[in-house]
Amino acid sequence: MNKVETKPVVKQSPAEQQHPEITADLFVPAPYEEKEDEAFAKPALSFWQEAMHRLFKNKGAVISLVVLVLLIVLALVGPMLNEHTYRSQNLAHSNLPAKISGLEWLGFDGKNAKGVDVYEQRGIETNYWFGTDEFGRDLWTRVWKGTQISLFIAVVAAALDLVIGVVYGGISSFYGGRVDNVMQRIIEILMGIPNLIVIILFILILEPGITSIILAMVLTGWVGMARVVRGQILQLKGQEFVLASQTLGASNARLIGKHLLPNVMGPIIVTIMFTIPTAIFFEAFLSFIGLGLQAPMASLGVLIEDGYKSMRSFAYKLLFPAVVISTIMICFNLLADGLRDALDPKMRK
């Protein structure tokens, strides 16, 4: 507190008594005017504006964001860009390497491992941009269709994690006491089980498919979110602004909706951004050990597994889905890092 007290002079100050030659009328109060340095230089930024400002300064995060948007657009539009569908087979066109006219110098030259142009050899006119698989299905279409499905699974799983985690963590921390105790013990037990094993067991029961993969991932995935939310709310609950609001008679709903949740938004968003790549990884992982989607559906994991099987003679089949999944994971991780730094400057390391 450095408030300057300006009391009007009523009595003679001790100094005046000691030095009678110094009287009060020798002093003129400095004229009060708003000093320049007290004025706001810029309009005050809201928390989110400031966070976005910090995020856009982070080159890695911005590039990742752009690449991600690009990939998402490709995933949505890609399968429609040529005449092939993800399930149409054409055995005469099987195992063709990638070929894009104009991009031959990049390796998209339609030549197989021995350097023979397979397209010329078999007299095929149409170019397959990412080549074809052993049934002659167009890999370009399948890769983007697969990206679409992988992203869909990841986003839905993350959204369900979000809802369950926020509700569970919120209730647990807000009501505290015995409720919290019981709910935390349940979480501890769930944390004790390696989640991959739960996921595998569930998929065995539910039969592989998009829904069962999502459900199995959500089954253990929400725990992380619940813990983050609980930790944050516990911290906030004791702070003055919450107490003040409570004293003013705010309802629980208002407290949660108006004061607690907005302040937890940052960590929640960061957690989601880390959940999505994890979900993509698990989906691919499950497909790779044979518990994923069934043919002719494609996800990145299924494509990687197919590609892996014929890696020795047709490396391109593994390469394209592997590059796409790695790019997605890298971008999500970088973006999440950037968001964490932007939303919580204190946590910046």
Binding site: G192, P194, I197, L204, I289, M311, I330, N333
Partner: protein, 299 residues
């Protein structure tokens, strides 16, 4: 700890009851009588509750039951046969990954915001992001198939452990490097480091004695999650490189619905995981005297 294990046993057991299909191959070729005999042999004719109690009773005596897939083999013997290769590549990956990760992290913290720093941060991000099986497949293709430097699959000599361990260690390297980097950077900004420098200590002493030791403590907590990621990794890595380990057996058993083996390995993994977490907690308390579990810390 024990409660968690118990819950896991119960949950897996009842989940198994819902599994579709039977563990016997070609059930349509078996006559009614043969099926009944087989069911009786493995106790599958009893109601679930009886099976459950019997299973728990056997577990307490260290008996995990018999495999359905392989005649007359106990689950315990299967696990002990298979654990060797898994443990070998797992430990190699853990040790190698931690050392490389520490080195990368320390270099990037000490040379903060230089090319070295950016380089190791890039490696760390790549390692975190690229799925281990994608990396393993690429590794196998480039090192094994293209250049034929190391054996691709087969489990013959020591050389065949190198690629699987390397593939597993990528995640470890990335995690450890990121973690130690941020810890070192934080410790470097602490007052006691400034004090140590002001006392005129040599830089090597400051880094070695003051910074590195303090930064290392939180890294110990990473061991739990790392052990899990290695366990997860072995499931696919062993499949890719044909390692006759526990993970490969697990994926195999899942495909043929060998209940008792799936349950046995699930239990084994869970117990291992719980043990690691417990040990890490203990170790953490020992390493960092500031943490006192008696003083009303979080239970």
């Amino acid at each position: 700890m024990i409660i968690t294990l118990f819950v896991i046993v119960t949950a897996t057991f009842f989940l198994m009851q819902f599994l579709p299909g039977t563990p016997f191959t070609n059930p349509e070729k078996l006559t009614e009588k043969q099926l009944a005999l087989l069911n009786a042999k493995y106790g599958l004719d009893q109601p679930a509750a009886v099976q459950y109690l019997r299973y728990i009773g056997n577990l307490l005596q260290g008996d995990f039951g018999y495999s359905f897939q392989y005649q007359g083999r106990t689950v315990v013997s299967m696990i002990s046969d298979r654990i060797g290769p898994s443990a070998l590549i797992g430990l190699q990956a853990l040790v190698f990954g931690t050392i490389v990760g520490l080195a990368l992290g320390i270099i990037s913290a000490l040379r903060h915001n230089t090319i070295l720093d950016y380089g190791s941060v890039t490696i760390a991000v790549l390692g975190m992001s690229i799925p281990s099986f994608v990396f393993a497949a690429l590794l196998q293709y480039i090192v094994g198939v293209k250049f034929q430097l190391l054996p691709v699959a087969l489990w013959e000599s020591y050389a065949s452990t190198i690629l699987p361990s390397l593939a597993l260690s990528v995640t470890v390297i990335a995690t450890v490097a990121r973690f130690i980097r941020s810890e070192m950077l934080e410790v470097l900004g602490q007052d006691y480091v400034t004090t140590a420098r002001a006392k005129g200590l040599r830089e090597s002493v400051v880094i070695g004695k003051h910074v590195f030791r303090n930064a290392l403590i939180p890294v110990v907590t990473m061991l739990g999650p790392l052990a899990v990621s290695i366990m997860t990794g072995t499931l696919v890595i062993e499949k890719i490189f044909g390692v006759p380990g526990l993970g490969e057996q697990f994926t195999l058993s899942i495909l043929v619905l060998d209940y008792s083996v799936i349950m046995g390995i699930t239990l084994f993994y869970s117990a291992l995981f719980i043990l690691v977490v417990f040990l890490v907690d203990l170790l953490y308390g020992l390493l960092d005297p500031r943490i006192d579990y008696k003083q009303g810390g979080q239970a």
